[in-house]
């Protein structure tokens, strides 16, 4: 399983999101050290990497929370919704867990 963590330093949410991703992987008996971290540093790189905002988490190349169609790629903080509808700067850990489980089951 390939897990990529894309982040931009201008958004303060990445340490918390990374910690939650690590915890989810641990809880699914996966090694948190397999996370590949990649900093996005320019709008050009954001466009090239199809980066809709920080943080973005890919598992086997697929965004765990696919962005809306037409969402621009740029250096920004990404808007997530928690399962109870609240806005958040980080994904809901349960959504991360479900994404990891789906990939595990499909292997």
């Amino acid at each position: 399983m390939r897990v990529e963590f894309l982040w931009w330093h201008g958004c303060p949410s990445h340490p918390e999101a990374l910690a939650e991703l690590r915890e989810v992987l641990r809880s699914e008996d996966l090694d948190p050290n397999l996370i590949e971290r990649r900093e996005i540093e320019s709008d050009e790189q954001a466009e090239r990497e199809r980066f809709p905002g920080s943080p973005t988490i890919l598992i086997d190349g697929e965004d765990v929370i696919p962005p809306d169609d037409g969402e621009p790629f740029s250096l920004t903080c990404r808007v997530y919704r928690l399962r109870d509808g609240r806005y958040s700067a980080t994904p809901d850990p349960d959504d991360l867990r479900d994404a990891v489980k789906r990939v595990k089951e499909n292997r």
């Binding site: 201008g10 303060p12 949410s13 903080c77 990404r78 958040s88 700067a89």
Partner: protein, 172 residues
């Protein structure tokens, strides 16, 4: 650089989403909140700040969006207008700082970045609304505590906190 506590808050006159102009008043306590449309922190804290505006009828509230709308079209004046309309109106005016001069004058760093200004025009609180954008139960308590103190003629116990959110999107 962000305005220091007790420093004079710069005046402003900015248009709201209906085109009406609003100015920082003299002789009244005000809360000036730099915010925007596209930032998860600003969105998460919005309802809490709006509730404070409803709860403190004797305080003038202003939400100001200073972001560069060329790079971030979600923060355009039109997008601001659509958001307020979609919400059925806000309890505080949502102002456009197109030139970014007001944000620069206050030294706004993030969205949100909250300033409480006393009736003499001095900044008495600057920082975040509360400690966690993900916890609505905190009810923007740092902002409320600052307002309570200033309205009572006292010193806010916590005059400064670290603003947390998306960086203000300055024009290149």
């Amino acid at each position: 650089m962000t305005l220091a506590i007790r420093e004079k808050a710069p005046g402003f006159t900015l248009p709201d989403t209906e085109g009406r102009e609003h100015s920082l008043p003299e002789g009244e306590v005000s809360a000036v909140v730099f915010t925007c449309n596209h930032c998860p922190y600003a969105l998460a804290w919005h309802d809490r700040i709006a509730q404070v505006a409803r709860d403190y009828g004797d305080v003038r509230f202003f939400a100001i969006n200073p972001n560069d709308a060329e790079r971030y079209p979600g923060d355009s004046y039109e997008a601001m207008r659509e958001r307020v309309e979609r919400d059925g109106g806000w309890p505080l005016p949502y102002l456009r700082d197109e030139s970014q001069e007001v944000a620069r004058a206050y030294g706004a760093q993030t969205t949100p970045h909250v300033f409480v200004v006393d009736a003499e025009g001095a900044v008495r609180y600057a920082g975040a609304p509360d400690a966690d954008h993900r916890d609505p139960g905190l009810e923007a308590v740092w902002l409320r505590e600052a307002l309570d103190a200033v309205l009572a003629g006292e010193e806010p116990a916590r005059a400064e906190t670290k603003p947390v959110g998306c960086s203000v999107k300055w024009r290149a």
